[in-house]
């Protein structure tokens, strides 16, 4: 009994020790964020306060326009609270973003045009389709590169070059080209998403398929194994750990690609569209909540891949 308790206590201690630094960092970030809200929003807050009849240190929005925000903030402590509660702040306070996130995910019906779940799903579906296309394409390219010298010499430079082109520049062209042949919506976005995610898969898989040692390949030769036998029994299983590393990078890139694909066309649905309409109408709280939704979605997707990775590698006898 005592041993069990000691073990549990030790585990508890360990958790506290792990959680504490994380919480400290989060607290510091939130502290800086709240602090930044005051000078960032003080001018708007003062204008609104003046309109409501309050007296402020320097009357008149025009007079205040070129004044130091920090100076104004220090001169008007009474308006600090207002800087955290503006409808269209320059920098929304953390709790404003949190409330907006809550309202647009949990409280809105998911069929609503203002539900982040609805917009998130639009982006997620393009992300997953693009990720699937990018992964399959990347693996096929890697297999070709590893087995054909001509492909090794010719494909890799193009693959690298493709990633040096800013996706923001190429995305509108893909949308326009597909639109002209009558393809709209999901597919063009998925293609932009695949364009970003295939690259890490190619690089990782080429390395993975080449990871068997010279000894292992010699061993195959002594058994008279064909190229395809070596591929299925040695190269492919050896590449699995490399593949998962690439997939984690790839899925995050896919999400980015899907969002970028929503920007240039003035899309009305998707997380990209929320970012876009938010900036059209100065809805900073909407922009920030869409940004956070994106980050949470990306973290979730990477966590899912990491989970599959852990289970797969354990079952394959790795990691011991």
């Amino acid at each position: 009994m005592r041993i069990v308790c000691a073990k549990d206590c030790a585990r508890g201690m360990l958790m506290i020790r792990n959680v504490f630094p994380v919480l400290t960092v989060v607290a510091v970030i939130f502290g800086i964020w709240y602090l930044a809200c005051v000078p960032m929003n003080i001018k708007t807050a003062l204008t609104e306060a003046e309109r409501a009849g309050a007296t402020v240190s320097t009357p008149g929005a025009r007079e205040r326009r070129d004044m130091s925000a920090i100076g104004l903030a220090l001169a008007n402590p009474a308006q600090w609270r207002d800087t955290f509660a503006l409808k269209k702040p320059r920098l929304p306070a953390p709790h404003q973003v949190a409330v907006e996130l809550w309202q647009t995910t949990v409280e809105k019906k998911i069929t609503s045009k203002r539900s982040l779940v609805f917009h998130g799903w639009i982006t997620l579906s393009a992300t997953l389709l693009g990720f699937a296309m990018g992964t399959v394409g990347g693996i096929l390219l890697a297999v070709g590169i590893v087995h054909s010298r001509a492909m090794d010499m010719s494909v890799m430079p193009w693959a690298i070059a493709s990633q040096t082109i800013p996706v923001l520049a190429i995305a509108p062209m893909i949308i326009v080209v597909f639109n002209s042949i009558g393809v709209q919506g999901l597919i063009p976005k998925a293609i932009i998403s695949a364009y970003l995610s295939f690259f890490p898969v190619v690089v990782g898989m080429v390395k993975g398929l080449r990871s068997p040692s010279a000894m292992q390949l010699d061993q195959m030769r002594t058994w008279g194994a064909s190229k395809s036998q070596s591929f299925w029994t040695l190269r492919l299983p050896s590449s699995v750990p490399y593949l998962f590393t690439s997939l984690k990078v790839g899925i995050a890139a896919s999400l980015l690609g899907a969002i970028v694909g929503e920007l240039p066309t003035g899309a009305i649905r998707g997380l990209g569209a929320r970012l876009l309409t938010g900036s059209y109408y100065g809805q900073t709280i909407q922009i920030w909540s869409a940004l956070f939704a994106t980050a949470i979605l990306a973290a979730g997707l990477v966590a899912v891949i990491a989970g599959i990775e852990r289970v797969t590698l354990k079952r394959m006898g790795y990691g011991k």
Binding site: M220, G224, Q229, G317
Partner: protein, 263 residues
């Protein structure tokens, strides 16, 4: 080399092998002449770069000679490979972590197209041969280094080749495990009557195991001496303390020193 069998299993005549490197060609083997008879246990010993591993790889058609001839069972090394004449054991066990021990031993059999039933039967048989009964379902990480190397020997034996080529198979193991595996290997050799080619760095290991010890020397890689062991085939570990054993060990050491005399 002294021959017991009129038709040697492995025969090298005037074998040369030169590697082309960037700065200058390297003579890995020069004028190697050697006959290995059926059922012999032949050790190759010498310092790094003497060509002992290269010679073993040439037998296995992993290297192509640049001169001379070599035959395995009267065939070219490539043809012998196709006829499944030899099993090759590398320095590292090289078991696939994603396959069980049985799955690893079964791998060459799968590649060679044995039926499922026959694979299962052969895996059982070879597991027993290396004293690993009951470990077929385990994964490599669950086995000690010595057991892993035994599994890799089982894998090389699974398709019943007459020749077993071993490239420093126990080099990475500690002395106690190595002694044990040497004993086991001798038992296995007695039971199966296979012809064994064995590369090693260790003089006691070579003397303890072999019927013939081939002493090699570097730059260029060549054979300097072939010692036929007068020890009986049955060898308990304490044979290593007998005067006969020490005398052969002394001769091997002298041979190695002579090969090094010029540098």
């Amino acid at each position: 080399m002294t021959m017991t069998d009129p038709s040697p299993v492995i025969s090298a005549k005037g074998l040369d092998l030169t590697f082309q490197t960037k700065d200058s060609p390297v003579q890995a083997l020069r004028d190697v002449n050697l006959d290995i008879g059926a059922g012999d246990f032949v050790s190759f010993i010498g310092p790094s770069g003497c060509g002992k591993t290269t010679f073993l790889r040439t037998i296995a058609a992993l290297e192509q000679p640049t001169g001379g001839t070599i035959t395995v069972n009267g065939m070219s090394p490539e043809a012998a490979r196709k006829a499944r004449a030899y099993g090759y054991v590398f320095q590292a066990a090289g078991l696939y972590p994603w396959r069980t021990i049985a799955g690893n031993i079964s791998l060459p059999l799968e590649i060679m197209g044995f039926s499922k039933a026959e694979r299962a039967e052969r895996v059982e048989k070879t597991l027993a041969l290396v004293d690993l009964e009951g470990f077929g379902g385990k994964y490599p990480w669950q086995l000690s280094g010595g057991m892993q190397q035994r599994a890799s020997i089982a894998r090389a034996l699974a398709f019943d080749a007459d020749i077993l080529l071993m490239d420093e198979p126990f080099g990475a193991l500690d002395e106690i495990v190595r002694d044990h595996l040497n004993e086991e290997l001798l038992k296995l050799w007695a039971r199966t009557g296979k012809t064994i080619g064995f590369v090693t760095h260790s003089i006691p290991e070579a003397v303890y195991l072999s019927t013939h010890i081939v002493v090699m020397s570097p730059r260029p890689g060549r054979i300097t001496d072939v010692i036929k062991s007068p020890l009986p085939r049955e060898r308990p570990l304490d044979i290593r303390d007998t005067p006969e054993f020490l005398e052969i060990a002394h001769r091997v050491r002298e041979g190695l020193r002579a090969g090094h005399a010029y540098d």
